[in-house]
Symmetry: C2
Subunit: 313 residues, 2 copies
């Protein structure tokens, strides 16, 4: 079994190639060509930790992939990153373990950021006036970096609770070529931005329906388990069109879950990435629509990013 460390992984990471692989994966998922058992979840209450175990096989592939990702939110107190993780590839012909990717959670972070990029391709307004990033962590900066491939806009507003985290984000975003404004008020961010990405593990809505301008697209990345929610339910219900990675997951525990359960989305078109990518269409039908993308994360994304990394080694 090959053991591949984070440095080797980052050295061969190719955003363009992996974006194409992710699109293929989303299409295969929506076409029911992927075996993807329900996610295994753990909660470690005393340690404020959680873990999810995802696995998938794109039928016909020579390999299947397993991913373990954890979040322990007191780790930074000990100088450890909150998120840890690894991925493994096994032969779908003999069952033998083939590769262990000790990516320390990077591959999950990167494939999530690339899904945000694809969401923006499918939903963003033609003219992005400013990009809004809610959150200041690793996923926040990765999402911003990946949007450079989708829009020429280099003006960004970032929201965070902590001045120090905002300052850190600024430095990184400026190094990536952006002009950055910081705020501790999400309504101010929403007043300036019509392409917004929310990247927090919040359990309370950060953005309200009345804050959002017509023509805005929002990609919500944070809600990946029951109880997490970054957008007010009324804001979700106000969307003119919703893009989801997997209807089954998003309606159960994604950003749209509460609005869906309250039957507020009956007249809102909801489409999966794979369906819209297969048809070649666009989620946004008019420039002044509000669109929403809900990312819960699919194991087929892990399959595809592992494929991309192994092919580059």
């Amino acid at each position: 079994m090959k053991i591949i460390d984070k440095e080797q992984i980052l050295a061969v990471f190719d955003a363009e190639r992996i974006t194409e692989l992710l699109k293929t994966g989303f299409i295969a998922y929506s076409a029911h060509q992927v075996q993807m058992p329900p996610v295994q979840h753990f909660l470690f209450n005393a340690a404020e930790g959680d873990c999810c175990i995802k696995s998938a096989w794109l039928e016909g592939d020579d390999q299947f992939v397993l991913k373990v990702s954890t979040g322990f939110y007191r780790n930074p107190e000990q100088g450890l990153p909150s998120n840890q993780g690894l991925m493994m590839a096994f032969s779908a012909l003999t069952g033998e373990p083939q590769a262990l990717l000790m990516d320390e959670g990077w591959l999950t972070a990167l494939r999530t950021a690339l899904a945000g990029r694809i969401a923006a391709e499918l939903c963003a307004p033609n003219k992005v006036e400013a990009i809004g990033i809610v959150g200041t962590g690793m996923q926040a900066i990765l999402q911003l970096q990946q949007l450079k491939a989708v829009t020429d806009c280099r003006e960004v507003w970032v929201w965070g609770r902590h001045p120090q985290h905002l300052a850190d984000f600024c430095r990184e975003a400026e190094a990536a070529g952006f002009q950055v404004h910081t705020t501790q008020n999400t309504a101010e961010l929403a007043a300036y931005c019509n392409l917004i990405v929310t990247t927090t593990p919040s359990r309370e809505p950060l953005l309200q329906a009345q804050d959002i301008r017509p023509g805005t697209h929002i990609t919500a990345v944070g809600a990946d388990a029951t109880g997490k929610q970054e957008l007010a339910t009324a804001l979700v219900a106000k969307a003119d069109a919703i893009l989801v990675d997997a209807f089954r997951q998003c309606s159960e525990y994604g950003e749209i879950a509460t609005a869906y359960r309250q039957n507020l989305l009956a007249s809102v078109p909801i489409v999966e990435f794979g369906a819209i990518l297969a048809s070649g269409g666009n989620v946004r039908k008019e420039e002044n629509q509000i669109t929403l993308a809900d990312l819960t994360g699919l194991a087929i994304q892990d399959v595809q990013i592992v494929k991309g990394i192994l092919a580059g080694l």
Copy 2:
């Protein structure tokens, strides 16, 4: 992360210590102290393979365990073992990966054999006249070896389809100190034996109700997924008492699943390992009862055997 290979694992394997750990694990499981998400299953039809991914955390432990085990039934044609597998331990305090046990499926085989040993402790008749082993593979010989700790009986009947496999089994069983009879007729085996272990992946019943003598205990190890069945449904229904590792799994896809679905077990006491071990009782109430143990395999067993191996290193 420590990487531990099969030789290192087998060098520290201590059957007594791990049997005690398994008992503790079964008790914790039945007392609802174990987080054990539903098993992830894959089917690789073209390659005649399957995979299951199990994970568990005994609440309060410093680590949780993930296990991948595969069966690819054409592997022997290429000189590879059918079963492959590995286990991993992660910190339940920080999420960090701690140990990768490259056991090649041995730990699953061993913890299953030790569960068979515990089943025999709880169910076997006082006087074992002869042991019957249905199947000739690795699990067959491991089950036999582990029964040495439970009974003084050293006479064994083995059933198999292939003369060569029977001969191979004989050699190993004789080396372990048994007097061995071979047969290709399960009814003959059942006529001589009152402690029987079935170890095959059969999808058709191998033992019939009328073959079994009063006072016999049968441990059925093979059925661990929908469609597998080693015992006739009428034989399962004829049991006076049934021991299960997990009621939830056994009633869904274990040996007893068909009889349970057909509502044939309404008057048969069914008890979990953990419940009977906690109470200190015995499944068999009278010497002439027929008892049955159904093993589907629990991730808590993987947790406990990993704990036992890591403690021995």
